[in-house]
Symmetry: C2
Subunit: 347 residues, 2 copies
């Protein structure tokens, strides 16, 4: 048996690779949020810790580049479980022959994004491999954080709803009635990278959403009642909602008419035969909020530049194990996590 592309696609094949081949060997230690939780970040001794490798192709794409992606992705993962990011690491694998100008452009972007997020790069490593041994450049960023100072109060407000939640914003926290918010237009990143790669010519219209979201999330935590936050990257919103549903043991109903999708993205997805729910986002969160705080949290998110197009898209419902899409024409369909990735190498 060989490793295949679908093993890295963020869907079912990856899940079984991780569970059967990796976790069985590595998951031996206790931690507050352990490796086996497969959440956006883990927690040990009150330190939030997360890692991501970035192999996006091409390294420059409409609206962003691998550097902005690497900083944003890890800042967003640390923040998603309720962490306040302190610092990130930067591990680079660079192919011999890369233009120094391109290298510098990526460094510039990393510096700029890290300042925008307020999270410094504190440790790093650079490896160079022979031409043909890697594609231009791969980046790994890991991130560390403390517990967000607003998290206690945020969760206390969630408990007012009569449901006890844990100490962190985990995938398993969602209960019946929780309202699901998406922080803006979906699928922008996936289409932008595909467009940059294949030269489909959507470029003028389509830009990646890649951005750090720690500031936006901070505004939501000020309001309170947020119980789970997730970064719908590989596998898109489909995969993220299914992970929530599975780990929380609850169903979800999503209203298609409420999904924020740009017209041009919808058209591109139509043309390519790709479901926008399966495409990765790099500057969006999905958030689950107790119903009584949902409108206030939505307003807070919409007051930020990253969240101005946020929408309530559905809610968690007991008595089902599925993520169900209520279609615009009145039908229902089950949203499955994608098995392979419709667009590989987007992050």
């Amino acid at each position: 048996m060989k490793i295949e592309m679908r093993h890295g696609a963020g869907g079912e094949a990856m899940e079984s690779l991780i569970k059967d081949k990796i976790l069985s060997r590595l998951s031996w230690a206790d931690a507050e949020v352990p490796l086996s939780a497969l959440d956006d970040a883990s927690v040990i001794e009150d330190i939030v810790f997360s890692t991501d490798s970035y192999t996006v192709k091409p390294i420059f794409f409409p609206g962003g580049d691998i550097g902005r992606l690497a900083v944003s992705g890890t800042v967003n993962d640390v923040s998603a479980v309720g962490g306040l990011p302190i610092a990130i690491s930067l591990g680079m694998i660079v192919e011999e022959g890369l233009d120094m100008e391109d290298f510098e452009r990526v460094m510039e972007s990393i510096g700029k994004t890290s300042k925008e997020a307020g999270v410094p790069v504190i440790t790093g490593d650079t490896k160079v491999v022979e031409k043909g041994s890697a594609e231009m450049m791969f980046i790994n960023t890991s991130g560390i954080g403390r517990r967000h100072p607003l998290l206690d109060e945020n969760l206390r407000i969630a408990e007012k709803g009569g449901k006890s939640r844990g100490k962190w914003l985990l995938d398993s926290n969602i209960r019946d009635g929780d309202v699901i918010i998406v922080s803006g237009y979906i699928a922008d990143h996936g289409v932008a990278v595909l467009s940059g790669r294949e030269g489909y010519g959507f470029e003028g219209d389509v830009k990646s959403d890649v951005a750090p979201l720690n500031g936006m999330l901070g505004k939501a935590l000020e309001v309170g009642g947020v119980v789970a936050v997730k970064d719908p990257t590989r596998g898109g919103v489909s995969n993220a909602l299914n992970e929530w549903s599975e780990k929380s043991g609850i169903g979800m109903i999503i209203e298609e008419s409420r999904l924020p999708i740009r017209k041009e993205i919808d058209a591109a997805c139509e043309l390519l035969g790709i479901d926008p729910l399966d495409l990765g986002n790099e500057g969006k969160y999905i958030m689950a909020v107790v119903p009584e705080m949902a409108e206030d949290v939505l307003d807070a998110i919409r007051s930020t530049p990253e969240g101005r197009n946020a929408k309530i898209i559905g809610k968690a419902v007991k008595g089902s194990e599925y993520v169900v899409l209520q279609t615009s024409v009145g039908g229902k369909r089950i949203v499955e996590p994608p098995i392979g990735d419709p667009v590989p190498r987007i992050c």
Copy 2:
């Protein structure tokens, strides 16, 4: 200008890439041990943080594999500044077509080494890239740690020598008279990887030293008086000593006759025309110790399996800026950091 192999070789070209192209853009935040210190690990808000990407070729080599290397290297970096490692992250970039058996063998090795070190993998990420886009597998591990509980007492003993040292075991801590210890035979790893790659046939005799050293270092800290610890990987002992010398603003005298080198490694290096001082090690520390504690620290190190061949190899001397090798035949030569890497892709 293009990125070249020497930019990742751990010598002067890499140093100028890092200083001119990277630090200038990324080094904007204050930290206890900042990015710009270019030490084995950094420290922010009392959390030790380090990262390394591993591109070793081949991924299996005499005495080890990329998994054992990735765990050991990061555990050793976190420990080297005086950290007690808490956890590591695991970011993998796997090439499509890798045998699942090889993948599992690496996972097994990661699990085993992480248990040996007592440091769990707590967060991870797996990316798959198309065949031809990476070589078998690249790994990034980042590590976090707390301040070692023995560090205060260890450094208090160093201060007895009349020299005030900082709070961490930094490259810049070394003062006149400090004794330099190497924890065992040098250059084993570099020759083992080269042998595995090129099929030189040294294989029967030569094995990599790759191992976690946090246990061994703990024994040395129990004795006290250790002021600096460094992992002589890329660029070897030459580069490590020169970094110490430059950052501490002090010269060093190393006695060639005291350098622990296995006969077969010496012969292989002779044959290949490589200076064993320039070759990477992955299971060795160089340590600087106040003179009055040097013999006791040496004994403590020698009581451990990883350190049983440790030796005192020289000392720091003021009035010079150079690392000088006192040769066995009575001459002297300046040990320069290697400009390129005699054996690329050993880590």
